[in-house]
């Protein structure tokens, strides 16, 4: 262990050395008389520059290419600039204030945006869920009562909780991990990963077209039925719609989701596996562990955090699953899920109260996952 610590210090020493110089002018300025002036001047200039850029973008008749570049530079640069300026301002303050305020320079913008874009709308949705379909009269918990007594909602809960999460999330994580681990040891890593990733890049409508063709009943078009009928000689099956295989027809939609999302799990697992120090695995091999043991005893514990993260994320994906179902069946044939019911109530049925209640129920459904994550989080120590 000593050896490792030593390397770390050595490796990062140059960074520290470089750091001393830029602090010089700042210190000098801080002691100068112009300090207050500059502290005011910098944010004002920043604001003006950004505002001017915004106005230019809105009014400009310039060619699209020019606008594109200005927009990108302005947008990305502007955000970076805001951080630099805010941090600079905070660093002008005394130590006590700096350590108090600096965390908010880091998390503040994210929190502000999250409040604006998601947290407040969620509160509003909760409020709407207590009102009637036109958001005019207070109805108490009637919408929630309706959610839990509606036969369609019952099927949606069953599909989400008993089918999508166990099958969809499990296989996505397992396949993602499998591909990431196997690819890591293969010469064809890049090719294999790219091909597994490819479905993620296909837009949902494109994926819908091909999977609808695979599941088509007509064995002349439907690949699955072409294989099935030629192997068994049976009549073709309506995979997505057949009531005789319900509720297992949901599995055919889940396959689509696994096909789409495995690339996601694989990419993150792959990045995590690359972070496992080779020394660790070499040490295991020297001790005579076989590859399976290395996977379970060394790799898996090392990337445990990532496994939790990916699993959490994929479970949330499956809870929120919408577009696969919407494109493939529109929630018919007993394949409705919470999100399609929500969308239907909100937009097709124009029932804002009921739709909002479904969204809030979705939020409650994720509580167990949240609690688990929070436990992990609480074990952390910060500086």
């Amino acid at each position: 262990m000593d050896e490792f610590t030593e390397t770390t210090v050595q490796r990062h020493a140059p960074i520290e050395a470089r750091e001393v110089k830029p602090r010089g002018p700042l210190d000098w300025m801080a002691t100068n008389l112009g300090r207050i002036l500059i502290a005011l001047f910098v944010p004002i200039v920043t604001f003006l520059v950004l505002y001017w850029g915004f106005q230019f973008l809105r009014a400009s008749q310039a060619p699209k290419g020019v606008i594109a570049i200005v927009a990108i530079v302005w947008g990305v640069g502007g955000v970076a600039l805001l951080y630099v300026v805010a941090n600079w301002l905070v660093e002008q303050l005394g130590d006590a204030w700096r350590s108090r305020l600096q965390p908010f320079v880091f998390v503040g913008p994210a929190i502000a945006i999250l409040f604006w874009y998601l947290a407040f709308p969620t509160v509003r949705t909760f409020y709407l869920s207590l009102l009637d379909r036109n958001a005019q009269n207070f109805v108490g918990l009637a919408n929630y009562q309706a959610v839990f007594t509606d036969r369609n909602m019952f099927i949606a809960f069953r599909n989400n909780v008993l089918l999508w999460i166990p099958f969809g999330a499990l296989f996505t994580v397992v396949f993602g991990l499998l591909v990431a681990v196997l690819a890591d040891r293969s010469r064809y890593e890049r090719l294999a990963k790219s091909l597994i990733f490819m479905p993620m890049a296909i837009s949902m409508v494109g994926a819908g077209v091909i999977w609808n063709m695979i599941y088509a009943v007509n064995p002349n078009i439907g690949m699955l039925n072409a294989i099935y009928t030629s192997l068994t000689g049976n009549q073709p099956v309506a995979w997505k719609a057949a009531s005789e295989i319900a509720p297992w027809n949901n599995l055919f939609l889940i396959v689509v989701m696994i096909w789409l999302q495995t690339g996601f799990a694989m990419t993150i697992f792959s990045a995590a596996i690359k972070g496992i120090p080779t020394e660790l695995m070499e040490a295991g091999r020297v001790d005579g562990a076989n590859e399976v043991q290395i996977f379970f005893r060394i790799m898996l514990p090392y990337i445990r955090g990532t496994v939790i993260t990916v699993t959490t994320t994929v479970i949330i994906f499956t809870l929120k699953i919408f577009d696969v179902v919407q494109v493939m069946t529109g929630g018919q044939f007993g394949t409705q899920v919470i999100a399609t019911q929500f969308y239907r109530e909100l937009f097709t049925n124009q029932n804002s109260g009921y739709g909002s209640a479904i969204a809030i129920v979705l939020l409650i459904a994720v509580l167990p996952v949240m609690v688990y994550n929070l436990k992990q989080f609480s074990e952390r120590e910060a500086f």
């Binding site: 060619p63 290419g65 009943v217 319900a246 494109v327 399609t340 969308y343 909100l346 937009f347």
Partner: protein
């Protein structure tokens, strides 16, 4: 490390630069013909303007003013569900109006219309005029008090003069105060009570067009005896799967019971489980549930995309001979097939002569969310035959305005269909579009699909629909 990060950012930037350098990136080709047109001539003196005079004679004050050039340079924004070819046809149909009045009509269509219009209305970001494909959705916004009553925009006397009363009834819905009023102006419609057939093969085989339900049943049996399946039926339509089955239900409702009962059914006063509705469904279910009658058998009905359904009719020789669908289905026919040669169309025969020859239709209603003189002018324009004339010529629409001339239709097919509609004894709007969304765009589709897929029996399905009706 820092370099890699830098590379990452510069890569993204470089991609943008490269694309900008492409010649295609120049804003040279805004291809949609939506650019505001300058009026061809300066505002002519009021006296020498026949169109303005004609409009004034009809009591359409703002339209007359528009033709006099009083609203030159104003903009009216519009949105609706139609895109692509239909948007081009719409733009084309208002082009002349734009040139003559100097009003710029900016239409932007979108898919996901329901979601986007709901969000935009609630957020207060709605365009001036919206084209609704279903009066049901419009009804929601009317109830919330967001829509300008039609009578404020277009004189009621003119509407009564230029539309059949049943159209005006279908535009009437309760407002924020609960009192019924007209909230839109009908613009175009499509006809649904139509049966398509492969004409040249049909004639070669010696089949005859049926004019009564019994003749239709006899024709079916004849086709079956000759070894084919008569009907092509498909009701798969993604999230809207099942809607063609609701169209059949409506058509048979009109043919097996009175229009009064149909209206009661639409209003929710006659339940789905009533004998009238059940009889209507059973009448066509006899065909649907018979494997000999449907191409591919009953099992394929719920899994065949409605647009693909008529395709076997155009194989040589045809695999099925009859397809009941609205006139828009021609957009799905294979490329190059011709009306009068490859296919023909006839009116779905009446079952009981006592109920006459009713016609099932659907259509688009224009509703205004703001009140300005130029918006009134445009709404008044849409209420006249002139407002649809360009679209009729281009094809893809039928006009219900009384001053529409059959000669305006650009294709024989649509002229013939319009003539069929004119012969109808009653016109009724697609019931599922008028019912509350829970039923008309929900349980009605869903339960019909469940029934025909064999998941539930008819009584259960109908009871489920009744249960979902919001009270």
């Amino acid at each position: 490390m820092k370099r890699q990060l830098f590379v990452l950012f510069s890569l993204l930037l470089a991609a943008a630069l490269v694309l900008t350098a492409c010649p295609g990136a120049q804003p040279a080709a805004p291809a949609q013909p939506a650019a505001p047109q300058q009026p061809a001539q300066p505002a002519a003196p009021a006296a020498a303007n026949p169109k303005a005079d004609a409009a004034a004679a009809k009591g359409l004050t703002e339209l007359a003013n528009a033709y006099k050039g009083m609203y030159k340079g104003t903009v009216v924004t519009m949105t609706g569900p139609f895109t692509d070819e239909d948007a081009v046809r719409f733009d084309n149909s208002v082009k002349e109006f734009e040139q003559e009045t100097g009003i710029d009509i900016q239409y932007t269509g979108s898919k996901e219309f329901e979601a986007s219009i709901t969000v935009r209305v609630q957020a207060g970001d709605v365009p001036d005029i919206v084209d609704f494909p279903q009066p049901g959705l419009l009804g929601t916004f009317a109830r919330q008090g967001k829509v300008i009553p039609a009578a404020t925009l277009v004189p009621e006397s003119w509407l009564k003069q230029n539309y059949l009363q049943s159209w005006l009834d279908m535009a009437t819905m309760p407002g924020a105060d609960g009192k019924p009023a007209m909230y839109g102006v009908w613009h175009r419609f499509n006809a649904k009570s139509l049966v398509w057939y492969p004409k040249d093969n049909f004639d070669a085989a010696g089949y005859k067009i049926p004019t009564t339900w019994d003749e239709l049943l006899a024709l079916q049996d004849e086709i079956v005896a000759d070894g084919d399946t008569p009907w092509c039926i498909g009701i798969e339509s993604g999230a809207a799967t099942g809607w063609p089955a609701t169209d059949w239900t409506e058509d048979l409702m009109l043919r097996t019971t009175s229009v009064e009962n149909y209206d009661k059914w639409v209003a929710g006063e006659l339940p789905f489980s009533s004998p009238e509705v059940k009889r209507a469904i059973e009448t066509f279910a006899k065909i649907w549930n018979d494997d000999r009658m449907v191409y591919g058998g009953r099992a394929k009905i719920v899994t065949t995309f409605f647009g693909d359904a008529p395709t076997p009719m155009f194989e040589d020789p045809p695999k099925c001979w009859l397809h009941r669908q609205g006139n828009f289905i021609t957009a799905f026919f294979p490329q190059g097939v011709q009306y009068g040669k490859d296919y023909g169309v006839f009116y779905l025969p009446p079952v009981d002569p006592a109920y006459g020859k009713p016609f099932l239709v659907a259509g688009d209603i224009m509703a205004a969310f703001r009140d300005r003189p130029e918006i009134r002018a445009v709404m008044q324009f849409f209420s006249t035959g002139e407002g649809i004339k360009g679209w009729l010529a281009a094809g893809g629409a039928l006009g219900m305005q009384k001053d529409v001339d059959l000669a305006w239709y650009g294709s024989d097919l649509e002229r013939d269909i319009a003539a069929l509609v004119n012969q109808a004894t009653a016109v009724r709007f697609d019931a599922s579009d008028l019912m509350p969304g829970e039923v008309g765009a929900g349980s009605f589709w869903r339960e019909m699909t469940s029934y025909f897929s064999g998941a539930v029996d008819l009584d259960t399905a109908l009871a489920e629909i009744d249960k979902s009706w919001p009270r």
